[in-house]
Symmetry: C2
Subunit: 342 residues, 2 copies
DNA sequence: GTGAAAGCGCTAACAC
DNA sequence: GTGTTAGCGCTTTCAC
């Protein structure tokens, strides 16, 4: 407590000049004498002067802070997105303040309600699963806070969004299974009502339809995103009298859970039963057989989101937001090998 | 730009009272009339008033911000630590500002030099690999900024630290291999010069010594922390004329790399060759055979670090820091099964 | 080119 | 119990 940091006032006093001159010198404003400027800079360095962002923020009405709100950070996708965000934030002189919702809508709401919007220049958000009400985001946007959504976007809200091409990725994944000889393809989906899971579901359905395969409602099971859910969902599928011979999982975690369930039941993945995921989590190369998947450009998504947000912040007049959809990439590994004849 | 948020002044004007009364009412200071207080609260809620943290920070000399500086977030350990930090920060009304160094000492230094210390109440840090100079941390501590180190700590610096018991974890891991019949145990280590890798190395050496096994310098290879390094290191070991029959890896990532190398060479992990890691990354259960390891209490480490930091901040007079060492836990899986006789 | 002064939003004496 | 005032550290007119 009672820490005193060196301020421009200190510098001004020592150099016997005014604070405004110091301020100008420090910020490299032109109308300041070269000599005084150098003296100021030298002294600032010597005293180890660091500007107080609170003060700067107050005075300028803009802070160096970007808020990032997301469900989790303990998985490959989100941690990589943050790394991307961090990268461009860092290069542009912004700090990021991290809020994790644990995928709880209540927590998300609580965070939003306590958010000191005035100390944030903008917000990057990936909404939590059951957050059906996005009013809190709309409100904040109405107040003029720039926000850009990534991955788990709120469709109703009109602002910038960046995401992967969930529909086409899913379509490609499922078509790949079909082309490899699988015909009874299930989908272990995410929760209902999220835009990206819906897109993946639609990709699944359309791929089947294109190839004249019947949609079997029993083969679509909705639940959470974890490996455990993937395992559970798969056991459920395997209890059906009419069993699938392949599955497309909404993400790699669930696909891995599925593979574990299949192994436990003695079913050979990649021969008798095809599996494909979505994400390209490093785990997919570790598990055996290696998991085929749709690679998501997570780092890129983080970078682009942050770049968009900065545009919103710096050019509010000229930039009115855009939606960016990045393509995924089919990565064929062992889990979806051509179905063995017997 | 030119966003105007509602301030206590606005509320004061509308209610025709002074700003200080509004301020008091909002912060629940006692000497304020129940009735006015209710009016203020009601209006604040109606207008969706949010305090400006920059202003509060400036006025009170303390912000709601904790800085977190660490090498990476894209792995199980660090992302889990952050989640723990986040949890207690959230419950105590702090925000966290995230800085990732990408394990680069230069980046770490740059971050520290640009750090607006005055807008941070404290700092949680895990240093980057080759950061041999910790002066920048010492300086900041000398200025009165509370900092606590976690995991990758700077030994020379006298402040709170929280880490797992690297020495005993390593000792136990290696002894486990020995007890399971392995006698020629290698260590694929981290870089030299970091305190936690040194501790793990020492645990390795002491376990061998206790069991009268010779230390073979060729069997200790130092490199980075990634899976790729683990693979490389292992190939290197396998080229030795005198080959080891087991290895202890400084972390699970490297252990997994090792397993991949061993598989590629046709060596049966867990029968001919024992492998054990450190961390308990979820990947260790995915890989086959499943990887034995020492589980680190990552979430707990995050929580404790943050709690310590908050103590430093709130009780600077009475709390002078402490070192917490959390025990790891040996988790035996398949990769270290009793060596098969032949 | 430089200084004085007001003000960003809030808190905290100090009066009354 | 409430208002007035000064001040946190910095920026920014507006003078000179």
């Amino acid at each position: 407590m009672a820490r005193h940091y060196v301020t421009i006032k200190d510098i001004a006093k020592i150099l016997n000049i005014s604070v405004s001159t110091v301020s100008r010198a420090l910020r490299d404003t032109y109308d300041v004498n070269q000599e005084t400027k150098e003296k100021v800079l030298a002294l600032a360095a010597e005293l180890n002067y660091k500007p107080n962002f609170n003060a700067t923020g107050l005075a300028k009405g803009s802070t160096h802070n970007l808020g990032v709100i997301l469900p989790f950070i303990t998985n490959y996708y989100f941690s990589t997105v943050i790394t991307g965000i961090q990268e461009v934030a860092y290069n542009n002189g912004y700090n990021i303040t991290l809020f994790v919702t644990n995928d709880s809508p209540e927590r998300e709401l609580a965070i939003m309600e306590n958010l000191s919007v005035s100390s944030l220049d903008g917000l990057l958000v990936s909404i939590s699963s059951d957050s059906d009400s996005c009013n809190h985001f709309q409100e904040i946007i109405d107040e003029g806070v720039p926000v850009v959504f990534f991955d788990r976007v709120a469709n109703e809200i009109d602002t910038s969004k960046v995401m992967q091409d969930d529909y086409n990725g899913a379509f490609e994944a499922v078509e790949h299974l079909i082309l490899n000889g699988y015909t009874k393809i299930a989908h272990i989906a995410g929760p209902k009502g999220m835009s990206f899971t819906e897109a993946r579901l639609k990709g699944y359905i359309d791929a089947l339809t294109k190839h004249h395969l019947r949609i079997n409602e029993d083969w679509i099971v909705y639940s959470g995103f974890s490996q455990e859910y993937g395992e559970q969902d798969t056991y459920q599928l395997l209890q059906l009298k009419q069993q699938p011979d392949a599955l497309f999982a909404v993400n790699d975690r669930k696909a891995i859970g599925a593979m574990i369930a299949l192994k436990n039941k003695g079913i050979k993945v990649g021969e008798e039963f095809g599996v494909i995921g979505f994400t390209n989590d490093p785990m997919s190369t570790i598990i055996s057989p290696a998991l085929s998947t749709i690679a998501e450009p997570a780092f890129e998504i983080g970078k682009l989101s942050c770049e968009l947000l900065i545009k919103h912040i710096t050019k509010p007049k000229y930039f009115h937001g855009e939606e960016i959809v990045l393509p995924g990439k089919l990565i064929v590994r062992e889990s979806s090998m051509r179905k063995a004849k017997h």
